[in-house]
């Protein structure tokens, strides 16, 4: 089915300019139901969080709460209007964005200066769980929010030598209410923690280099991780909660900074240290497109976010600009889309 000359990868749909400093974190939010205008948050090196309206493609607000220190992680709470931001100033801020407000309502003191981003587990309930890198370099701290009570600290056994946690993913199986944590470590391994029992359920070494990011598809019980090396590793979780490496995917250039599976679980995007965003078919891991626009990468983490509904990926690298673009949208069984990568979808549906 390979076309003789695949169409060129799509261009960005829009380049959001004006952050004035390199972007380190991105997060999409569909917006309040009533207003319906989607929003993109971007966190910059200068400590500012810009709120971009994706209707006008303009920054509508700027949140300044990290004292000029780089913002590394942004997450909207599912009940809406509350944004979490993590900064290198060792603070995790909770913002209230309802009705045009933009004030820090709460903050959590972090213990670790590492690159590790936090993770949340929240349904619609008022109480939710937060995983943050803990003290001592190898711990992961679990907090119950919004009360900020420490639930536990997940510390690997002393002889394990996993190194620092590099990335965290809190999740919950549909059938089992027990919260689980996937963590990628400096030594290239991925561990599955049972949070309530504070023990490692399973642990696999899938990379030679430190794991830079991972994402997990709880429906298919399949996850993927990328490291500073050349390979992507796909692994799965069996019924006994044991991780197994399913396969690896070799890339041309080493270094994966971030991995995101689109919420519809059809495609997967990786941000590489080679300034390129690679798009894969999540089920088959077939490469779909290489999006080349950025000219530099903010080591260690060029941020990238997948648009939850419309097929959009937003990535940022060279700083000062963030872009949203159409991405190929292969449907299951759509072979042409799988190969071509030029399939364009309407931008805002």
């Amino acid at each position: 089915m390979a076309a003789p000359c695949p169409p060129p990868p799509p261009d960005p749909q829009f380049v959001l300019r004006g952050t004035q400093s390199p972007v380190h974190a991105l997060h999409f939010w569909e917006g309040a139901q009533a207003q319906g205008h989607p929003v993109l948050f971007s966190g910059s090196q200068s400590g500012l969080v810009h709120v971009w309206s994706l209707q006008t493609q303009r920054a509508v607000a700027t949140l300044d709460g990290h004292g000029g220190q780089c913002v590394t992680w942004l997450q909207m709470l599912p009940q809406g209007h509350q944004l979490l931001s993590q900064g290198r100033d060792l603070k995790l801020c909770l913002w209230d964005l309802a009705e045009g407000r933009n004030a820090v309502v709460d903050s959590v003191r972090l213990e670790s200066v590492g690159f590790c981003r936090s993770s949340i587990l929240a349904g619609g309930q008022p109480r939710w769980m937060l995983a943050v890198p803990g003290k001592g370099g190898d711990e992961v701290q679990i907090l119950e929010m919004p009360s900020k009570t420490s639930v536990c600290a997940l510390k690997p056994k002393a002889d394990a030598k996993l190194g620092m946690p590099m990335c965290l993913r809190l999740w919950q199986a549909d059938c089992n209410p027990r919260p689980l944590l996937l963590a990628g470590y400096e030594d290239g391994s991925v561990a599955l923690w049972d949070v309530s029992e504070q023990k490692v359920c399973s642990h696999i070494a899938c990379h030679e280099e430190p794991v830079m990011d991972l994402d997990f598809d709880s429906q298919k019980a399949r996850g993927i991780s990328g490291s500073a090396g050349k390979a992507l590793a796909v692994w799965s979780l069996d019924g006994q909660q044991a991780l197994q490496v399913r396969g690896t995917h070799e890339l041309t250039n080493p270094g994966i900074a971030e991995i995101t599976i689109r919420p519809d679980r059809k495609i997967l995007a990786t941000a590489g240290w080679d300034h390129r965003i690679r798009v894969f078919h999540w089920r088959t891991m077939q490469p779909l497109a290489v999006l080349a626009f950025h000219s530099a990468v903010q080591w260690p983490s060029p941020p990238m976010a997948c648009w939850p509904r419309a097929p959009r990926i937003s990535g940022s690298a060279s700083g000062r600009s963030t872009h949203a673009r159409d991405s190929p949208t292969p449907l299951p069984g759509d072979k042409e889309g799988g190969q071509g990568g030029g399939h364009r979808a309407p931008a805002l549906t």
């Binding site: 829009f14 380049v15 300019r17 004006g18 209707q55 006008t56 493609q57 000062r320 600009s321």
Partner: protein, 892 residues
Amino acid sequence: MAVFDTPEEAFGVLRPVCVQLTKTQTVENVEHLQTRLQAVSDSALQELQQYILFPLRFTLKTPGPKRERLIQSVVECLTFVLSSTCVKEQELLQELFSELSACLYSPSSQKPAAVSEELKLAVIQGLSTLMHSAYGDIILTFYEPSILPRLGFAISLLLGLAEQEKSKQIKIAALKCLQVLLLQCDCQDHPRSLDELEQKQLGDLFASFLPGISTALTRVITGDFKQGHSIVVSSLKIFYKTVSFIMADEQLKRISKVQAKPAVEHRVAELMVHREADWVKNTGDKLTILIKKIIDCVSVHPHWKVRLELVELVEDLLLKCSQSLVECAGPLLKALVGLVNDESSEVQAQCNKVLRHFADQRVVVGSKALADILSESLHSLATSLPRLMNSQDDQGKFSTLSLLLGYLKLLGPKINFVLNSLAHLQRLSKALIQVLELDVADIKIVEERRWNSDDLNASPKTSATQPWNHIQRRYFHFFTDERIFMLLRQVCQLLGYYGNLYLLVDHFMELYRQSVVYRKQAAMILNELVTGAAGLEVENLHEKHIKTNPEELREIVTSILEEYTSQENWYLVTYLETEEMGEELMMEHPGLQAITSGEHTCQVTSFLAFSKPSPTICSMNSNIWQICIQLEGIGQFAYALGKDFCLLLMSVLYPVMEKAGDQTLLISQVATSTMMNICHACGYNSLQHLINQNSDYLVNGISLNLRHLSLHPHTPKVLEVMLRNSDANLLPLVADVVQDVLATLDQFYDKRAASFVSVLHALMAALAQWFPDTGNLGHLQEQSLGEEGSHLNQRPATLEKSTTTAEDIEQFLLNYLKEKDVADGNVSDFDNEEEEQSVFPKVDENDTHPDVEPPLPLQIQIAMDVMERCIHLLSDKNLQIRLKGKLEHFLI
């Protein structure tokens, strides 16, 4: 001045005269009586009415031949008495009526007796006065079936007079009298309105006369124009009042199936008409023929009052008899609609009033039959439209289109019934497309070039009140009159206003895509549809009509814009690709231009035909027009959406800007005025403001298009225009784009250098303007500006012998750059070995604090990057580029 107030006194005075008259009937005696009568008060006269009338009536009734003069004076005297008294007895009324009408009776012929005109006039006036003097209810009891023969006689008498008399006075009097007889008199004496039953009775009675009245009046109406307008006007009035009274739907629906037995003798009963369905149908058919005749004749009547009366006729008949005269509805509406654009403003106003009235009353909307008739008329008009447009003169076309417009106005929201039928829609759209065909043979359009590119600063002269109406004059195949184009625009706007916009836009987009032949027209129509849909210029006849909601409208506009600005519809060939070279050629051979402008035909194909098979002038013209129409469309959309358009700037502003920098004069003008429209719509007070506030959108477009330069060769132009119209705030946004430009320039030195260099030129000019002299740097700039001035003075010379002086200038520049670098304390890695040798030592001397040196301001960094590139261009093979490169250095 009444002398005798009491009946007694009056009687005393009048008695001798009356007796005298009864004895000897002479004119003198009658006159004598009349003089006496004038001295009697009205009340006394009323008392003595019967007494006085007796000798007069006696005179009339005496058998044997009488002198006309005598009869005339008797009738006049009678009229006098009647005018001051009122008739209170039905019998008297009937008798007087018969006696008076008998005066004109000739037993020998059907026609009125051959008597003097004065007598005729006197009798007519007598009859008229008699009817006015009838007291209250008497008048109604007068109209009973038994009077039928006598009334019939009087009516036919009067009709005969109106039709056949020579004297205008008699004709008018006869018509007036007829009006009185038919109870249509508009004087103040008949204030009482009739109740339903009375109306029905009268209707039944008058129905017998309808055939006679209608045919005779039709003959009068369609008679010679020279007979004077007042006669036609009154005849029309009587005609429609009679018809609308007898054929009124209100009355007819109450007519029972079976005729009630009239309590009259058989002979009279035969004359009675029962207005049941069959009769209505037959009469309606016959009336239709007459009405059509009348309309044909009257709608072209030279006198405006007659046409005005026609409007009244249409209104009356359509309002009252829309069911009984359903066959007439088509012609009547056509007449009305055709008069909407009458040359007389009174007629126009009345027409519009009536149309509005109809709309209010939901005459058309409320009746399916009328809507059907209208849509059928519309269909047949649409079918014949192209043919009419081909054959008619401008005046004819004007009235044809007025008719079309009128139909649409009347149909209002019902347009959708027409549009929903594919056959109708296709007819209409094809007709519009055909009519709007542009004449694209004018060679000037391609030829006119915009040589100077900084005219953006001078705002175009658009009228502040209606900038959206400012559109380029265009030339059509089928008409030249601007008014016709305005009509066509209104037609489209109405369609957009009332029609289903999704359906229409879809249909015309289809046509737009279908063929390049339709494209321009379809775009024009689309533009007007949207303008109309916004409801801004449409005169709304149908109050309850709901406009398209703004959200939907914006979506529709978005999809149209997407199509307009797509690669294949926006980037059309408007000049020959060899133009870059061609510009020079043209300058060297002004003769070429002379040849081409001499012939205004399509046959003058590409004069630079030595290049590859190139598009014809015609097709380029057509392309230019298409772009212009689309640009104007964007302006109109902006106007239609108002502030909402701001959200679309993201995708639209860049393409428009691109066209503002187009080489073709027309395109660039239109694009500029489109931008003005956008300014107005979105609330920006100037182009600069618009560009400044939206520079992020523009920069986005530029940076994305720079990635595909071969597809978007004009991208650098937009940057150029933007730089010219912006201020220092822009710099942080464009910084990365400038880097992109430079990088791209590095890639395309050979092909695109010229256009890039002019961008860089604009950039340098902008930088110089944005960052005026400050401190150390300023000093240098000042110096250089001075230098620039001196060099500019030399420019003519430079241009002439550029090849020889180029080295000198280059040398100067190199030296200058050296100095500047030294002053800035900056090392730049020129690949010139000599430079390196000379620069480095100096730098070492100056650069005493390398650690604390602050980063260079952005503008200087950019300026340096630019200069680095330009230095290479100084030795370019192409003279133009070389010159431009130098120019830039002057600026710095």
